[in-house]
Amino acid sequence: MNTTLIFLQQYWWFIISLLGGLLVFLLFVQGGQSLLFSFGKNEQEQRMLLNLTGRKWEFTFTTLVTFGGAFFASFPLFYSTSFGGAYWVWMLILLSFILQAVSYEFQSHKGNVLGNKVYRCFLVFNGFAAPILLGTAIGTFFNGASFVVDKGAILSASMPVISYWTTPWHGLEAVANPWNVALGLAVFFLARILGTLYFLQSVSEPSIMERCRRSLLPSTLLFLLFFLAFVVHILFATGLAVDPTNGTIYPEAYKYLHNLMALPAVALTFVVGVLCVLTGIIRTLISSTYIRGIWWTGIGTVLTVLALFLIAGYNHTAYYPSVVDMQSSLTISNSSSSLFTLKVMAWVSLIIPFVLGYIIYAWRSIDTTRMNADELKNEGHY
């Protein structure tokens, strides 16, 4: 096989993984939303919190859209198989994000038909649903999904659809696998930790800071419980491997463990990532004045998720295993775009550092002061 193509497939899997990592980090917005009513006990406090996540929600949203677009462009077979098959999961994720996008603006205006409270509940709903569902969906990268891909179907005029789902649940069956749910809950509690740490850094209202600090430990314990369960599970799990010479897919015991051993840089990224996540949390827990934990834990999240995605796809692994027809499983080589498209997209990807640069610049320029009653009065938008 063409080495440039192999390189570009790896490169694009790396970009997708990185975007996935950034997306999970940015779910601090959702984590924060899910805590709206626990941290905000009155109107003023709730508005403070809303103004804090409200100035960041668009980044998460845009990252999700870009993650989807980049996945589509680089691995279109995944997009068509998973979106068209796991219909309900994607529709629910979509719904929760639609509600989020309107709710910040609408809850702050009178005349919004449903009342402020309902829009705030929508934000809480998105806060729960998005991390849990996205996490569960990522779980299927390891635990598999029920689909068949048959490119020959295109020849049939009466049923030309090349990939289809084999359960009528269209994706909802993913929750029947406890390991998917474990990852969903791990992502959810991680998002809450990140949300809490974000508030701690951005708020100077003592009552809210107090609640943040108190909730950190329980969220951390729950996160660790689900996260470790998932990690231990995949280390012992049998994964699907692909024979690079002929594309045949076969089961391999301890596949993900082998991947970690075969890819020391990824293993290191994973370990450093987890340590960073813990460092941010622990430093916040032991010092009552430390407020910068979001950066440690945030960067740690990006690295950990990046590493998880990489072991799902690198080293000749099927990143989207089919539990009903093994040979239908998707790998980065059988599901990618053409060499030409990957090349064009690789050129486009060179703009990403520049985009990150202006995001950081703009982000910092509006985060100069911490949120309190005065700041809310002068600068509150929502």
């Binding site: 462009a73 449903l114 020959g152 289809y164 938008h381």
Partner: protein, 517 residues
């Protein structure tokens, strides 16, 4: 699961996409048009340092924000739906179609969402210059995003820069610049963005007239009106010119769409353009002798000129396209039946090619590969059952086209009149003009939606012109699933629209806030 596609699945999938796309289009043009007007106003503030402009800009920005949120919310639905409801499409052309979508995210959406945050939260935090830059960048980001998504749409109407790969069973991109700068894409971008500017101008003008009607905020209203009138006049003239370019393109690359827009069944040279008319409901078959349009008022020779820039150009009608045999630049046109036959040959050749490859029969593989390549331009026709499937909904296209163009003419007159009125202040206080101004707002929305109807309903049955019909583009789902999501969207959209309108009206009634000088 059944092994044939339920036709109602196609209908419901289309209905859902049409619903979300048309709903999305209620919000996007205002983002494009109002965004630019705001940027111009903030530039006035930056240059003059007059607080009047800051107050003015902040008022329009508030309305922009309400509209922006729901535009963003509905945009993501379309991106998801390509996968959820059109999964075969996503595979068959994802190699080409995915790229503009990804580029849109990387290049445009981040710009928009980063700087919109500065625009709202940065008034007292960043320098005036940076704030102004942010307002401009928000608008530029929105416009760039329109560019990429319209590139994607144009490509479906006029697929270029690609080749079918029988090994991967999909189309693959081989010329990015041909995709990104195809003449259809360029023209579509210009016409569509300008239509957003027209709408933005109509919105600002209408609301300013409302303040005049209420005798409130006169200085603010007149200043806003002046900008809207200039901007609207320029945009509507350019929009009409670009619309002429669109029609020219349609005539070249989608003759069936043009024929449907004109309800033209039997074409001629020196073909006239119907200015007004009624589609004859009694016409049943494309080849019966019932006249298709009643009470028609025609501009002689105009359609031939529009399509070929020459009155001697032959414009094929629906019957001509189905029966073939008329002259084109590539010789005589094939009939629909011949195209369907070639499409089937292409599909069969693909099947034989795949068999031969599995059997290792190189010669047979090559033979079929060549056969496939030769007949590929008609590939999509192989999925059709009868030639009539090629005919889009004629009355819908006919009327939608006339509504858009008619309103396009009206907007030019309207903005010209308002502009004159702005300089003859007396006219502005007349109730008649004020009411006309207010009622022009919904007309701008109607024109834009009518435009999309022409563009999308006109290309039926194709998801990708000549390459993939809708029936082969869908996801294999139960009809009931799509029905469920359709109705969820209907309810959600209705509630959100109501909320949006009420919030807008309330904010408008409140008027601009803060000190003015």
């Amino acid at each position: 699961m059944n092994e044939t596609i339920d036709p109602s699945l196609i209908d419901w999938s289309r209905a859902q996409f049409a619903l979300t796309a048309m709903y999305h289009w209620l919000f996007v043009p205002l983002t494009l048009g109002l965004g630019l007007i705001m940027a111009l106003m903030e530039t006035a503030y930056y240059v003059t340092e007059d607080l009047f402009w800051k107050r003015t800009v902040k008022f329009w920005m508030k309305l922009f924000g309400i509209n922006f949120a729901i535009g963003v919310a509905t945009g993501i639905i379309l991106e998801f739906e390509f996968g959820t409801n059109w999964s075969n499409y996503s595979w068959f052309v994802g190699d080409i179609f995915g790229a503009p979508l990804a580029i849109e995210g990387i290049l445009a959406f981040f710009m928009e969402s980063t700087f919109v945050a500065v625009m709202y939260f940065g008034w007292n935090k960043v320098s005036k210059k940076f704030h102004l830059a942010s307002t401009w960048l928000t608008t530029i980001g929105a416009t760039l995003s329109a560019w990429w998504i319209l590139v994607a749409n144009a490509w479906m109407q006029y697929p270029v820069g690609m080749e079918f790969n029988p090994d991967t069973v999909r189309n693959e991109m081989n010329d990015f610049l041909a995709v990104a700068f195809s003449p259809v894409a360029v023209n579509k971008f210009i016409h569509t963005v300008l239509s957003g500017w027209v709408l933005g101008a109509a919105f600002v003008a209408g609301i300013s007239f409302w303040f005049l009607l209420k005798k409130r905020e006169t200085e603010f209203a007149v200043a806003s009106l002046k900008i809207a009138a200039w901007f609207g006049l320029i945009a509507s003239v350019l929009c009409a010119i670009a619309g002429d370019g669109s029609a020219y393109n349609v005539g070249r690359v989608q003759p069936m769409k043009l024929a449907a827009m004109e309800a033209l069944y039997e074409g001629h040279t020196r073909q006239g353009l119907i200015a007004l008319g009624v589609v004859n409901p009694d016409k049943e078959a494309y080849n019966d002798s019932t006249p298709p349009v009643l009470l028609k008022l025609e501009i002689p020779n105009m359609l031939s000129w529009l399509v070929g820039r020459d009155i001697q150009t032959f414009v094929p009608g629906i019957k001509d396209i189905i029966d073939g045999g008329y002259p084109t630049t590539n010789g005589l046109a094939l009939s629909a039946a011949e195209k369907m036959k070639k499409g089937r040959i292409a599909i069969d050749a693909l099947a034989h090619y795949r068999e031969a490859v599995t059997e290792g029969d190189k010669e047979r593989a090559q033979l079929n590969r060549n056969l496939l390549k030769e007949n590929y331009p008609y590939f999509g026709y192989g999925y059709l059952n009868k030639p009539e499937e090629l005919i889009p909904n004629v009355p819908l296209n006919f009327y939608a086209f006339r509504i858009m163009v008619g309103l396009g003419g009206y907007f030019i007159l309207f903005f010209a009149l308002v502009l004159v009125a702005c300089y003859k202040n007396k006219w502005l206080s007349g109730k008649f003009l004020q009411w006309v101004g207010i009622l022009t707002i919904p007309l701008a929305y109607i024109a834009g939606e009518a435009g999309w109807i022409v563009s999308e309903a006109g290309r039926q049955p194709w998801a990708i012109q000549d390459v993939l019909p809708n029936s082969a583009a869908i996801s294999r789902l139960d009809v009931s699933s799509v029905q469920t999501t359709f109705f969820v969207f209907v309810v959600l959209f209705a509630v959100l629209l109501l909320a949006e309108i009420r919030i807008m009206l309330r904010e408008i009634k409140k008027g601009p806030e803060g000190e003015s000088h």
